[in-house]
């Protein structure tokens, strides 16, 4: 991701107010609507502090009393992945989106929308469970024998570690999937009388029909390169070559352009693609 344009803090060009336009939605299946807010400008503001001010004010720019805008955040320093939203048309983390740089993009207002590929729960909060389900399906873990003491792990040399570390920084924010043309929104409505478990199972079945997305593919590369993680590499590649697997990727490379952690996603996809091809041939010959 490109670094934000540094702004001069003492520049007199700063506005006293910041206009914000938020795409709100009261719940799943409800209509979305725009709402305008205005907050006092402060130095070094980010979108989180704008939303905090909106919550404290609880009224629109026209003075209409409204419920605070709902959104997710956590670490406020771009490591937890909570706060993803579409800001001025680009999917990104709201904690590292600085008001000064956003106003440099568009001086009149800041536009906030929920992520596009995940179902809205309320306002800017979306349901990203599909992403975590993909990690289950792809067995993104190291299958150790026990948590008892068995001495150190396998030796991993420095170049290997330097390949793996960037991949392990993926914070499941979902930016890469939101920007991907092949990743289609999957949104189900709960049926009357359906139990939690039934609804959950139906959702998961639907997720498995859709594209897994760039981040989970990259996790397969990570775990398939770990000396112990490798032992279930075939299982991961099986999952990666099923419906919604790596073959769906059209190589548009939107993903890598928006990843806030600079994860080399296209490289991962290429590596996973080669592994998947070899794996499919192997499986074919086994038949």
């Amino acid at each position: 991701m490109s670094a934000p344009t540094p702004a001069n803090p003492s520049s007199p060009a700063h506005p006293t107010k910041v206009n914000v336009r938020v795409l709100r939605q009261d719940g799943p299946g409800q209509p979305a609507y725009w709402e305008r807010h205005q907050v006092d400008y402060e130095e070094n503001m980010n979108v989180i502090s704008v939303l905090q001010k909106i919550a404290a004010q609880a009224q629109t720019v026209d003075g209409k009393k409204v419920a605070p805008v709902a959104w997710e955040c956590g670490c406020l320093e771009e490591v937890c992945g909570s706060c993803t939203m579409v800001i001025n048309g680009r999917v990104r983390q709201s904690c590292s989106a600085l008001v000064d740089s956003l106003l440099a993009e568009n001086a009149t207002e800041i536009e906030l929308r929920p992520m596009e590929k995940y179902p809205v729960i309320r306002d800017l909060v979306v349901d990203r469970s599909r992403l975590f389900h993909a990690l289950k399906r792809l067995q993104a873990w190291v299958p150790v024998d026990t948590y008892g003491h068995l001495g150190p792990g396998p030796r991993i040399n420095r170049p290997q570690q330097e390949e793996m570390y960037p991949l392990s920084k993926c914070m499941s924010c979902g930016c890469c999937m939101d920007a991907c043309p092949q990743y289609q929104k999957i949104e189900l409505q709960r049926r009357p009388g359906e139990s939690d478990e039934q609804y959950q199972r139906r959702k998961e079945a639907a997720y498995e029909q859709g594209f897994v997305g760039a981040a989970p593919i990259s996790q397969v590369v990570l775990f398939n390169s770990h000396p112990t993680g490798k032992s279930i590499a075939d299982g991961r590649l099986d999952a990666l070559t099923e419906t919604g697997g790596i073959q769906v990727c059209g190589n548009a490379q939107n993903c890598v352009a928006v990843c806030p952690k600079d994860i080399p996603l296209t490289k991962s996809i290429a590596r996973a693609g080669r592994a998947a091809t070899l794996h499919s041939i192997k499986r074919f010959l086994e038949k």
Partner: protein, 658 residues
């Protein structure tokens, strides 16, 4: 996998996740409750690393015992020593396990774990994964728990708020009540045992280096139904953070290590841009006051001086906000990029200012809570812990356990860097077999024998609280009250503490608490209502805030992070050798007298409106307390007197034993 064995865990940070995976391995199913996806827990913020004695340091004379010693010395001897000893001896095994789980630790060229040095020790004990060690450790545990989830051993309740433990007539904890943050439904979770692993409480101070999830609500909800809270007044403040309008982000100490200079303009709030202020009008207060150490004075001293300059001397570089300059602009750009690139990028990203061109604005920030829920331990014959004993990590409420940053046990009056990640994972792993024994002994009675009416009543009580809040129209704005609380707490109960300020802060917090009971909720809906959830958390901050203030008020001494200038131990002033010797003797007398009074755990219990404070003895049976003399004038002679006293005492014990 009988369901009457099910354990409920509140929180999926390092502590909660390691307990979850260990219990699953023991065949005990877990319900895991968290405010957010566990992968997003606050533990991801930890950058520096995790400590253990290792093969490299061993060859230089290090040992588990020395790690133990550094930890209790760093904590000013306020810890119960058996659990700390056990932790230090487990540390190498904890890191081995994390290594096996695939944590991408930095490596030496040959492929061994690389180590760095951290504060409070002479050895390179700290293993790290780039500048994101906490994130990497958390992910490895998260992956293991996901693995157990696919096997049906774990049910995750993410985006759920723990509202309180459920106690039966005998006062045993038989489960928890929690609320779904999406649907706002409230449910009971019957459990054979309940573990709280909810992390720190930085939000009580308004802004801190912690995540927004660290609001202390879970701990407060246990405290309010009778759980003891230990050492509330011990709050660690990090000297250098970046003041932001939403959060105080950590700025690593290495910036000063590489030559960064701290200063303020001599004219209060000088309006000129910093680069235009001439040298003669700059006050390099650390360099002037500590010519020997300069900007690299120990962490607590740097913190106190910066605070003092802003709060008491009014020299903050900004009006209405506290900040001093940390200046790197005299160092060549390429040198900065090579040595400090990563952390400078954080500053650049969040402040939109290039610290290679402009001095950074920094200020101390609340960083860690040493205190927390009081927990018991079972001492073994070798002075460590008795493995598998159900007393370990148990609160004073049977069936309710606490682990991780929310327990009070491992860090005493001050935590050493890179020891917290260790205590979290250690306590999580260690508690597993202890819970297993407890369930065996109690036969999961909590679940099978508790009448469902008890759980129904607990749910209705919480339902009522929720609805009362929704209907409350008292006119108070919860977000603004939170800011006020944060201001009061930050002024009175962080770096430097004065009794009169603590008294007035207590009165102010009392007033805010009453106003918070009259909060108006601007969202009265029953779907993803963050407004009401925040207000509930705010109301529950007050009992903990009061315990912090009262604990601090009653502790008339300086110990670790708790500093009252009025009661500081003096430097020696006599110059004549004999007089100086006598002065040192008196110093040691006073030190011992002070320890007799205050080397005790503060115990807070909630009486419904205020905390009652009492004191409990600290187990210092393994390493006798000794004075911390860093930077004190006369340290050598005090140390000599102290050593002679200790030797004499040993002799007496030896003769008495004959």
């Amino acid at each position: 996998m009988a369901d009457n064995q099910r354990v409920v865990i509140i929180g999926g940070g390092l502590a909660g996740l390691s307990a979850t995976m260990k219990l699953c391995e023991l065949g005990i199913p877990v319900d895991l409750i968290s405010l957010t996806q566990v992968k997003r827990s606050h533990s991801v913020c930890a950058q520096g690393g995790i400590n253990s004695c290792n093969e490299q340091t061993r060859q230089l004379g290090d040992s588990e015992w020395k790690h133990f010693d550094d930890t209790v010395y760093g904590g000013d001897f306020l810890q119960q020593q058996p659990p700390v000893k056990e932790m230090a001896y487990w540390a190498p095994k904890v890191i081995d396990l994390m290594d096996r789980l695939g944590v991408t630790f930095n490596r030496t060229f040959e492929g061994y774990l690389d180590r760095r040095r951290f504060g409070g020790t002479l050895y390179k004990r700290t293993a790290f994964a780039g500048a994101t060690t906490g994130q990497q450790l958390l992910y490895a545990l998260d992956e293991q728990v996901r693995r157990w989830e696919t096997q049906g051993m774990v049910r995750k309740f993410e985006f759920w708020d723990f509202l309180g433990p459920v106690l039966d007539e005998e006062g045993r904890c038989v489960g928890a009540v929690a609320q779904d943050l999406v649907t706002m439904e409230i449910h009971a979770f019957p459990a054979a045992a309940t573990i709280v692993a909810s992390g720190g409480c930085g939000l009580i101070f308004g802004k801190s280096t912690m995540s927004v999830f660290c609001n202390g609500s879970a701990v407060s909800r246990c405290f309010q139904v009778g759980a003891k809270y230990g050492n509330p007044e011990f709050i660690q403040v990090h000297p250098t953070a970046i003041p932001g309008s939403d959060k105080l982000r950590l700025m690593s100490e290495s910036a000063r290590g590489e030559g960064g200079r701290v200063w303020v303009p001599r004219t209060p709030q000088d309006p000129r841009p910093p680069k235009q202020i001439p040298e003669s009008e700059r006050y390099y207060f650390l360099e002037e006051r500590y010519p020997q150490y300069g900007n690299l004075v120990p962490r607590d001293i740097a913190t106190r001086e910066i605070f003092n300059i802003c709060v008491n001397e009014g020299l903050s570089v900004e009006k209405g906000r506290m900040a001093v300059y940390l200046d790197l602009t005299h160092i060549p750009r390429e040198e900065l990029d090579r040595k400090l690139g990563g952390i400078l990028e954080i500053y650049e990203k969040f402040q939109g200012v290039d610290p290679r061109e402009q001095p950074m604005k920094i200020f101390p920030a609340v960083h860690y809570s040493m205190g927390g829920l009081w927990v018991d331990f079972a001492k073994s014959s070798d002075g460590g812990l008795q493995a598998g004993d159900p007393a370990n990590q148990r609160t004073n409420i049977e069936g309710l356990y606490a682990i991780g940053e929310c327990d009070y046990q491992y860090h005493g009056a001050n935590r050493l860097g890179a020891n917290s990640l260790l205590s979290c994972i250690f306590s999580g792993l260690f508690v597993g077999p202890c819970i297993q024994t407890y369930i065996k002994q109690s036969g999961g009675a909590a679940v099978t024998r508790t009448p469902s009416t008890l759980f129904d009543a607990a749910v209705s009580a919480q339902q009522k609280r929720h609805e009362d809040l929704l209907n409350c129209r008292g006119g108070e704005n919860p977000y603004l009250l939170h800011q006020e609380l944060g201001d009061v707490m930050t002024r009175a109960a962080t770096v430097v503490r004065h009794n009169d300020q603590l008294d007035s802060a207590y009165a102010k917090v009392e007033e805010l608490q009453q106003r918070a009971a009259r909060a108006s909720i601007s969202d009265t809906g029953s779907w993803t209502n963050q407004n009401v959830v925040f207000t509930k958390a705010l109301q529950d901050m007050f009992p903990v805030a009061k315990a912090i203030l009262r604990g601090a008020r009653l502790r008339d001494e300086c110990r670790g992070a708790h500093y009252k200038p009025e009661f500081a131990m003096p430097s020696l002033t006599e110059t004549d050798p004999e007089a100086r010797r006598r002065e040192a003797e008196q110093w040691c007398d006073r030190f011992e007298e002070n320890n007799r009074r205050y080397l005790k755990s503060t115990i807070a219990r909630w009486n419904g409106t205020d905390p009652d404070i009492s004191y409990e003895d600290v187990d210092t049976s393994l390493i006798p307390p000794r004075p911390r003399l860093y930077g004190l004038v006369g340290a050598e002679i005090i140390e000599q007197v102290w050593r002679e006293r200790q030797a004499k005492r040993k002799e007496q014990v030896a003769t008495a034993g004959q």
